[in-house]
């Protein structure tokens, strides 16, 4: 479950925090014990309700919302796709989705989604970036090489970028990276760019679920199994060394202090040169 964003974490786990103080008093008052137990039960049931991402309306893609398909259909398709992809270890396929979020908009939207107690898929791993303009194709490729099943870049609306055109650059970079992925033989649909304004918490949850669903539909990234195998690296190179300059034959550098007779001493990094 996600930590810093609060939403799914606090809602789904039922929050460990209230236990601490009340558990000390539990033995003293039987009536209070009963009340606490009832309250906790209610909290857990509420948490379970929230922790079912498939029940959430935000789990549906824009297309499905437009079509007006019932929510349970989404849940069914989710389960059907998931069942199709068994990992080698025998564990059911749980997609890993990486979200590169702009700190000014999408990350704030994710924060808002947490504050609004919106439930979205816990398979989304959020990486905060100062601006989506910083993201380059290599970063996106690395995510796939390390085993991400889907990646999305979430930036500001057109015209809203804090740095004026970072999001426009990101759109181009994502388009280029899709082309690179297709060249490699991975599905370009695993990568997407979304505009998510800071006030759109529900939209963030929707987009996150949309990408998880897409990752479920596409199946595991074929590179997932070799994610930790490294077959090459960038070589470290020393800075260029230039041959030493030959000693000057026709003259030498004269300091200002030497040029003017009786001038005040000049402090240099090597020491003090007295006025010649």
């Amino acid at each position: 479950m996600l930590g810093p964003l609060g939403g799914p974490c606090s809602a789904a786990q039922g929050c460990d925090a209230p236990k601490t103080r009340s558990s000390q008093r539990e033995d003293q008052n039987p009536l209070r014990n009963k009340t606490v137990a009832l309250k906790r039960e209610r909290e857990y049931s509420k948490a379970e309700e929230y922790s079912q991402p498939a029940f959430s309306i935000f789990n549906r893609t824009t297309d499905e919302l437009e079509e007006g398909r019932p929510v349970n259909d989404t849940q069914a398709s989710h389960a059907a796709h998931g069942a199709g992809h068994e990992l080698e270890t025998g564990k059911a396929y749980e997609p890993k989705v990486v979200a590169y979020c702009c700190t000014y908009c999408a990350y704030t939207a994710a924060d808002l989604a947490g504050s609004m107690r919106l439930s979205y898929s816990p398979q989304v791993r959020i990486i905060k970036t100062l601006c989506t303009g910083k993201i380059d194709a290599l970063l996106l490729l690395k995510a796939f090489e390390e085993g991400a099943d889907a990646v999305f870049v979430a930036g500001c609306n057109i015209g809203d970028c804090h740095f004026l055109e970072g999001n426009l650059r990101a759109i181009q970079v994502v388009a280029h990276a899709k082309h690179l992925l297709a060249e490699i033989g991975l599905e370009p649909e695993r990568l997407e760019f979304f505009h998510i304004p800071a006030s759109a918490g529900p939209l963030f949850a929707q987009r996150a679920n949309q990408m998880v669903e897409r990752a479920m539909a596409l199946g595991p990234n074929p590179l997932r199994f070799s994610a930790h195998e490294k077959y090459g690296k960038k070589l470290q190179r020393e800075p260029d060394s230039h041959p030493a300059l030959p000693p000057a034959r026709f003259g030498r550098l004269v300091t200002e202090a030497e040029r003017e007779k009786g001038a005040t001493p000049v402090r240099t990094p090597e020491g003090t040169i007295p006025g010649a």
Binding site: L141, L180, G185, L223, K233, R237
Partner: protein, 226 residues
């Protein structure tokens, strides 16, 4: 600046067939500026090749390194220590750089990852266009700074021809007629009189291939060498 373009990945992958250890050597000068073979592009290419190898189930070690320039011998020195570990070098320099690298490490196969296009300029982000054909006899002083040898499809020195069509070339309607551009430029400069001068046939012997040039300051030293 020399402008180049990366070859299709399939073709590059075909070069690497049978090689277990590959070093991708980038060039940090012209091809870095035209986003074809600089440090970042080399990293992306190596990453792509690694991912392809993994997908195909091959154990292929692909390392990358970028030198400042591949058209100067000095910058190959740091490579000498590690080249022997590799079966193959893949160079993302222009054609000149690939040849120079192959000359320096002639015991290893050196293969090109780029197609070298032209000498050109950056028109805007990600857009380059040709400006010079290296004819070795520049006449830009006569033509208002626009090169008919490059921009004119017929290399006309006394233009325009009869095929200019509303400022476009008859050979390719999407391209500007060089001589229309030259006329407009000279008009702006008030030097239309330059057009009245008949250009004599160009001396193509100065541009014979392969060209070689020694700077005057070094000619004496070169002659003195045993």
């Amino acid at each position: 600046m020399i402008v180049a373009k990366r070859k299709p990945l399939e073709q590059i992958e075909g070069f690497l067939e049978g090689a277990e250890r590959v070093l991708v050597v980038g060039c940090g000068t012209c091809v870095a500026v035209c986003m074809a073979g600089g440090e970042k592009e080399v990293e992306i290419l190596a990453e792509q090749l690694r991912m392809r190898a993994k997908l195909a189930g091959r154990r292929q070690q692909i390392d990358e390194v970028t030198v400042t320039r591949q058209c100067d011998r000095e910058y190959f020195a740091p490579l000498a220590a590690c080249v022997d570990q590799y079966d193959l070098l893949l160079s993302t320099a222009c054609g000149a750089g690939v040849q120079f690298l192959a000359e320096r490490f002639d015991h290893k196969p050196v293969l090109p990852a780029l197609n070298t296009l032209f000498i050109g300029v950056a028109e805007g982000p990600g857009v380059w266009s040709q400006r010079c054909t290296a004819c070795a006899d520049c006449i830009l002083d006569q033509t208002g700074g626009i090169c008919p040898m490059t921009m004119c499809a017929k290399n006309l020195l006394n233009g325009p021809c009869g095929g200019t069509n509303h400022g476009k070339c008859e050979v390719d309607g999407t391209k500007d007629c060089a001589w229309t551009l030259i006329y407009r430029r000279l008009e702006k400069l008030g030097r239309l009189d330059l057009l009245k001068k008949i250009q004599l046939p160009k001396d193509y012997s100065v541009a014979t291939k392969p060209a070689r040039f020694t700077h005057e300051a070094f000619q004496k030293a070169e002659n003195q060498e045993p």
